[in-house]
């Protein structure tokens, strides 16, 4: 066997080529390994979320139901009442809807834009067979509301499939009859205060978790490993217990005939008549959520506190600081990363919470997630649900981005 030295530039170039090729092969190999899961997540997760986002701005149902109207109304500039072609279009579409028995959704969609439009549409659809040209006179005779320019503007707004109206509705605003964007009247504003309440409850829960979790994490981090490992089980057991079980436990504890109330009656703090309302309201939501999210505060705090060396505290004491000053000025700043991680994590989880508020929240303790579920399951206003979901998603992604910038901690305490 002979050993050949690489001397000519030709050889070195071919080695470089070999290296590049092998690197490319390894890159491809790594990518092929990742590809199945990546495709799975892209198609089954990212794609449907994209679909939901699309649903929040794109709503072709009205235009699909009223094709003749939509075609005709595009010509109309939007002031006064439209020309006869549009009236004829409406009459033709109404007849078709009546024959397919599909006037309901159109009436409902129009009613959101202008109250009273539901009965107008249903009535017109019922009598569509009797309408004859000129349609303008026929329809106004049927119901003078057709003479109102605002109904035509509402139809024109709905005829465009791309719409900002779900987002406007999600922040309690609407396009008024004159076409400008205004706030909903006070008594119909729901979502702004709901968003505020979600933020407020999440904030309170985060604060409670911090107050309860900080001393506990401190204790865990400073005890000998043998004891802290045992105490850690107390933190991890609720973490591993089913969410439903923990929520059930709180209902059992806090309801009117529950353990806490019975205890208070037994110890004569309360009487049977004055049992306290501890659950199915905001208090219940805050208590139960604090309990459920507490491990998410303790774990990151603990992992940061583990790394804080005790020598700094000793140094501070030897320089004359008392325990309190040394703790606040020296120890606490060293745990800020953990505080930030824990607070953001708990806050992010709390903002998107659904199960617990739905079970123990009653009227005053429900959050934005519950409203999304309501619009999907009950009111069937999917566009609005999608818009609310998109706002929630954006807020959480922004928070998570901050979280990632602030910390590099293994938040879940895995492996």
């Amino acid at each position: 066997m002979t050993v050949t030295a690489i001397t000519s530039p030709d050889d070195s170039r071919s080695i470089k080529r070999e290296l590049t090729r092998s690197l490319r092969r390894r890159k491809l190999q790594a990518f092929v390994l990742v590809a199945p899961l990546l495709l799975f997540i892209l198609f089954m997760f990212i794609y449907p979320i994209g679909g939901m986002l699309l649903r929040s701005v794109y709503s072709p149902d009205f235009a699909r139901a009223m094709p003749a109207t939509v075609a005709a109304i595009a010509e109309w500039p939007g002031s006064g009442t439209p020309p006869e072609t549009v009236w004829a279009g409406v009459a033709r579409d109404m007849l078709a809807l009546q024959q397919r028995n599909e006037a309901g959704p159109v009436a409902a969609a129009l009613n959101v834009e202008m109250s009273g439009a539901r009965s107008l549409v249903l009535k017109t659809a019922r009598n569509a067979g009797k309408l004859t040209a000129p349609y303008r006179e026929a329809m106004v005779t049927l119901d003078p509301m057709w003479n109102d320019a605002r109904i035509w503007q509402a139809i024109k707004r709905l005829s465009s499939p791309v719409t900002p109206r779900f987002y406007l509705a999600a922040v309690d605003m609407k396009v008024d009859e004159a076409g400008s964007i205004v706030s909903q009247p006070e008594d119909r504003q729901i979502y702004r205060s709901l968003f505020l309440r979600t933020l407020l409850i999440s904030g309170v829960v985060t604060l409670c978790c911090l107050i309860l979790g900080y001393p506990v994490a401190h204790l865990l981090a400073n005890l000998p490993l043998r004891i802290s490992n045992i105490l850690m089980i107390f933190v991890l057991l609720p973490f591993w217990t089913s969410l439903l079980v923990r929520t059930t436990a709180w209902i059992v504890l806090l309801q009117k005939q529950g353990v806490v109330n019975s205890l208070l009656v037994w110890s004569h703090v309360l009487t049977d008549e004055t049992r306290a309302e501890l659950i199915f309201n905001r208090t219940g939501t805050i208590l139960a959520m604090t309990h459920i999210l507490l491990p998410f505060m303790i774990l990151p705090l603990y992992s940061v506190m583990k790394t804080v060396s005790p020598v700094y505290m000793k140094a501070a004491r030897s320089l004359g600081a008392n325990q309190f000053v040394a703790f606040t000025k020296v120890y606490v700043p060293q745990t800020f990363a953990g505080v930030a991680a824990g607070c953001l994590l708990v806050f992010i989880l709390a903002v998107g919470y659904y199960i617990t508020p739905a079970l123990v929240g009653g009227e005053s303790g429900t959050l934005i997630s519950n409203m999304i579920a309501y619009h999907i399951q009950k009111s069937l206003n999917w566009g609005l649900a999608a818009a609310l979901g998109a706002i929630l998603l954006t807020a959480i992604l922004a928070l998570y981005w901050t979280f990632n910038r602030l910390t590099k901690i293994d938040i879940i305490g895995l492996g």
Partner: protein, 305 residues
């Protein structure tokens, strides 16, 4: 945690206040008590959610297993025949609501665990190689199901599944739960691989092993604890998940958490406490297994002596 000799009286008092506070948080107020209260109440002979006089005086007559029997009986064609002869077993297996839910939970959780463990482990093998282009972006995408609020995930899947015919099917639920479980597998396996000595692979290759043999004989035994704890996380996630089930499942695919959910919303009976107790026992078991796996993994990776 002993106090140093130099502390003064106020600091000593403060120290005890702090310890008491921690003990309260640990035991009585927050972490454990709410879960543990459920256990004795599930043996209540009365249909109440409060301790009866008899329970407090430890009267045996105040305790019973009736709610545990009810788990089996609820939905049975002939509940009176429970424990007499053998025919009740078939009846309970076929008709009991909770057994039906348990079967669904197990089938869906196992399906989701297998799917997410397979996909997640293979992906983690690729992700652990630093040459992978766009690694951070890919990682962010793969982890995203953990961050996106469950209500957004569920509603999005609801729309998609209604279109492609996966709504109200077992496959749909398995896919949904696999999506939620994969981030855990990816995270645990990547974490295990981060402490993995890559020269072991080269050693294997240089001794003539094919890539498959290297994977089987060298990589697999070392990352197995990571895979198993990831799989357990995925299983636990699926077993505990209820929001996706609410949106994507019909009565036939009802799981245990879904059954508890409707129990809590409609007619709340102590049977739920009996089920909760069984679930607490299961989670203790699961926690023990994960902890043992974690210790084994650390030992194998040489992180602790």
């Amino acid at each position: 945690m002993a106090l140093p000799a130099y502390v003064d009286r106020w600091e000593r008092i403060w120290h005890w206040v702090y310890l008491t506070f921690c003990a309260l948080v640990f035991l009585f107020l927050f972490l454990l008590l709410p879960v543990l209260v459920v256990v004795p109440l599930s043996f209540n002979a009365e249909p109440y959610f409060s301790f009866t006089e008899g329970m407090l005086t430890l009267d045996p007559a105040a305790y019973s297993l009736r709610w545990y029997r009810d788990i089996l009986q609820n939905g049975m064609a002939d509940p009176t025949q429970l424990f007499s002869g053998w025919s009740w077993i078939g009846d309970a297996w076929a008709n009991s609501q909770w057994i039906h839910a348990a079967k669904n939970s197990i089938v869906i959780a196992i399906g989701a665990t297998i799917l997410s463990t397979l996909l997640g482990t293979v992906a983690a093998l690729g992700l652990s190689q630093s040459i992978l282009p766009g690694r951070r972006l890919i990682m962010a995408l793969l982890i995203s199901p953990m961050i996106v609020p469950i209500i957004v995930t569920s509603t999005s899947l609801y729309f998609l599944f209604s279109e492609i015919g996966l709504a109200n099917t077992y496959l749909g639920l398995i896919v949904a739960h696999a999506i939620l479980g994969t981030p855990f597998v990816v995270i645990t396996v990547t974490a295990t691989l981060s402490g993995f000595d890559r020269s072991l692979i080269r050693a294997g290759q240089s001794l003539g092993a094919s890539p498959l043999v290297v994977f089987q004989r060298v990589i697999m035994p070392l990352i197995l604890p990571g895979i198993l704890s990831g799989a357990l996380f995925a299983f636990g996630t699926s077993f505990d998940e209820v929001v996706a089930v609410i949106f994507l499942a019909d009565y036939d695919q009802r799981t245990i958490p879904r059954q508890m959910w409707s129990g809590l919303r409609e007619q709340i009976s102590p049977t739920i406490l009996a089920v909760a107790t069984i679930l607490v026992a299961m989670s203790i078991l699961l926690l023990t297994v994960v902890e043992l796996l974690r210790r084994r993994s650390e030992r194998l990776r040489g992180l602790t002596a």
